[in-house]
Amino acid sequence: MKTAARSVAVAGAVALFAASCGEAPEDEGSDSATGSAATGCMVSDEGGINDKSFNETSYKGLQQAEEEGIISEVSFAESQSEADYEPNVREMVQQDCSIIVTVGFALAAATEQAANANPDEKFAIVDYQYKDANSEVYEIDNVKPLVFNTHEAAFLAGYAAAAYTKTGKVGTWGGAKFPTVTIFMDGFYDGVQYHNQQKGTNVQVLGWDKESQEGQFVGDFENTGLAKQISDNLISQGADVLHPVAGPLAANAATAAQQAGDVAVIWADSDGFESAPEFKDVILTSVLKGMDNAVKAAVEETVNGNFSNEPYVGTLENGGVGLAPFHEFEDEISQETKDEIDQIREQIISGDLVVESPAAF
């Protein structure tokens, strides 16, 4: 009796565990699809494909490819924890994928392992470029890195924040201390410093110090309470512009801003005005990271038989990164500032103004 109950419980647990970890392919008979029989596959990082941020934006690239008929089917697996990376990638390898897109540098090891074990399978990894122990970049034949020099765009956002602030203090914080997070904070920091230098202002950046590479981090991308608290603390110390770089947690900074009043938020990854419309009254602008376009382009290349492992680096120049419109804050940013931002953009593209970050590609 006891054993029976126990085995039922274990079987139930296993079934639930399996259900919670992996999304089963929607349709086993994929050969029934007409036209392009290609499948685009994706493995998300923690945070899931509805994170209103980098997983979601990458996934959008796949969806667009499907809508445009480049691929006929989309398949994805969400990772709930680090333990899911490897099984999720393996599951995708077992499916008939034309290309497997892994999102986030946390999946680097799992992707590399799967790529080496399956040399015929094509991979693209968002936000990571493989480096060896001596920080030398190396390439894997069947993995295309999709990386972004977001600090260039964040520099513009920092400049805008410094021009906008009334308290003379702006704040930034990150989810976890990943290079793909700190690259935003570096650019933001330097943009503020550039404004100080050009305009003789003395705007302070709270929550990040580029020199020491130390700042405010939640430690993960889930703890909403701490994310909200860090935002409240920054506001309490006088910041009236917040730039959270934390995927789904960014919403908590926007909530804190709405509650405080007179505080604006600079969104990261996608245009928050569109992806998080409930916060549009506090979104000053957004630092755009065109992961959707990069993913779509990589899928298209692969399906057309032009896969290359050459890294794609999104910059201001190729439109891979950018600054979103000011939307509701259009009137609060002076034309002078907007012209200056355009000018800085040109200078960065032409190389007259060099923006640096230890996390740059």
Binding site: K2, A5, R6, A9, A13, L16, F17, A19, S20, C21, E46, G47, G48, I49, N50, D51, E78, Q80, G171, L206, G207, D209, S212, E214, G215, Q216, G219, D220, E222, N223, T224, G225, L226, K228, Q229, I230, D232, N233, L234, S236, Q237, P248, L249, A251, N252, T255, E278
Partner: protein, 426 residues
């Protein structure tokens, strides 16, 4: 089935308790650290400014500007004095009273604060407000664990109960447009998770730890599924609850510093105060409490006296689930509003630690949870103003404080004797 529960060790036989040297030694070490690092090595000529009033307060109090080095020296000298007194007490064969150790802890933390804030200013009120906000889920979680474990059932599923409460409260509050309905739904969610735990752990005698872990994974999976299928695509309908507004209690909220921190809060926090006091009183002062404790310590004896052991346990597990579920509503309705995936972020486990750290005692667990919250927020606030300490050390702060508190304050920890052992009538 043979009898699996052994007789609990008889505590009453240990009549002579010898005062240990551990507490005074710990105090001396920490006092010296404070004196040397915060006092002697502190920068002279700087001031540490603490803002006391918020702009909304009735009585505005001038910010407290303290000259950093002398104040830190004075506070650490007080620490030293307490440590010396503790040595004297132990030499005379007396115990170091808890109040003295608490006083030491407060003086030590203040000395540290004055040193760390040198040349800067912080708001004392918002520091404490944030600490409380970070502690609330931990307190509810710890109370849930305590209700279960005092009756002899280990509740690892606190994490899942918090998450389920957060999820259902957000969904119901969005659909009905009523936060009260959301709060009720949170309790129901916790109750449902607890019901599964109780059924498997008590009725079917499945290993309690395994059931708890499985339940956590189950709740995470179910909430993630609904989140990606319903809450995220149609967030306006499913995931946009109102948040609870703060209720200011007249008079009490006018007390400087503590008033706005404690008495300008949401209903959830007021219910938290009532819950902790209620559990403390009824656990140690009521017939119900005596029965619960007897079932957790010595189920055979309780059974002999006619107490239905398994029914008592079942009820307590359900009660614990309701408390944790309600606490889960703080994540959503009490704080940020909308639900997001895995938003409990492991705090159910920290709550469990707080319960053990608080010696399975409601007030102790409350203190432990508040300490975790305070250390966590202090780390953030000091990180923003920039401290002389490297960031990596600041991240260790909650744990350093915990070690100090465990070593100096808590002493020997003993779980209920029948904790985790199912009761089967022989």
């Amino acid at each position: 089935m043979s009898q699996t529960v052994q007789a609990a060790p008889d505590e009453s036989r240990q009549t002579v308790v010898r005062p240990g040297w551990k507490t005074p030694i710990v105090l001396v070490v920490f006092a010296l650290v404070a004196f040397v690092f915060f006092g002697l090595l502190g920068d002279s000529g700087r001031t540490s400014t603490f803002r006391v009033s918020t702009s909304a307060d009735a009585w505005q109090i001038e910010p407290l500007a303290l000259s950093s080095r002398p104040v830190a020296l004075a506070l650490s000298a007080l620490c030293l004095a307490i440590a010396v007194y503790a040595i004297a007490l132990v030499r005379r064969g007396q115990q170091v009273p808890l109040s003295l150790t608490v006083m030491f802890g407060v003086a030590f933390v203040l000395a540290f604060l004055v040193w760390a804030v040198a040349g800067e200013q912080i708001s004392l009120t918002s520091l404490l407000q944030g600490a409380l906000a970070l502690s609330v889920p931990l307190v509810f979680g710890a109370m849930s664990g305590l209700l279960c474990e005092r009756s002899g059932v280990i509740n690892i599923a606190i994490e899942g109960q918090l998450l389920a409460g957060a999820f259902l409260s957000a969904v119901v509050a969005s659909l009905t447009g009523s936060v009260v309905a959301g709060l009720v739904a949170a309790v129901v969610a916790g109750l449902l998770v607890a019901f599964v735990l109780a059924t498997f752990a008590i009725k079917y005698i499945v290993n309690q730890i395994i059931v708890g872990v499985v339940l956590n994974v189950l709740v995470l999976g179910v909430t993630n599924f609904f989140y990606s299928q319903l809450l995220a695509p149609e967030s306006a309908t499913w995931n946009s609850p109102d948040t609870l507004s703060r209720v200011r209690i007249p008079l009490l909220s006018e007390i400087p510093v503590l008033g706005p921190v404690m008495f300008n809060q949401t209903v959830i926090v007021y219910i938290m105060y009532i819950t902790v006091i209620g559990i403390q009183v009824s656990l140690f002062r009521s017939r119900w409490g005596l029965r619960v404790r007897s079932v957790g310590e010595h189920p055979e004896a309780a059974d002999t006296l006619g107490i239905d052991v398994n029914r008592t346990r079942f009820r307590n597990v359900l009660l614990g689930g309701m408390v944790a579920g309600f606490g889960g509503a703080f994540f959503t309705l009490g704080n940020v509003g909308s639900f997001s995936q895995d938003m409990s972020a492991g705090q159910g486990f920290i709550a469990l630690a707080a319960m053990i750290f608080g010696r399975w005692n409601p007030i102790g667990a409350l203190g432990a949870a508040l300490l975790f919250g305070f250390a966590n927020n202090l780390q953030s606030v000091l990180g923003i103003i920039g401290t002389p300490i490297p960031g990596e050390f600041m991240l260790m702060l909650p744990y350093v404080l915990t070690i100090f508190a465990v070593a100096g304050l808590v002493g020997r920890v003993r779980a209920p004797a029948a904790d985790g052992r199912p009761y089967v009538k022989s």
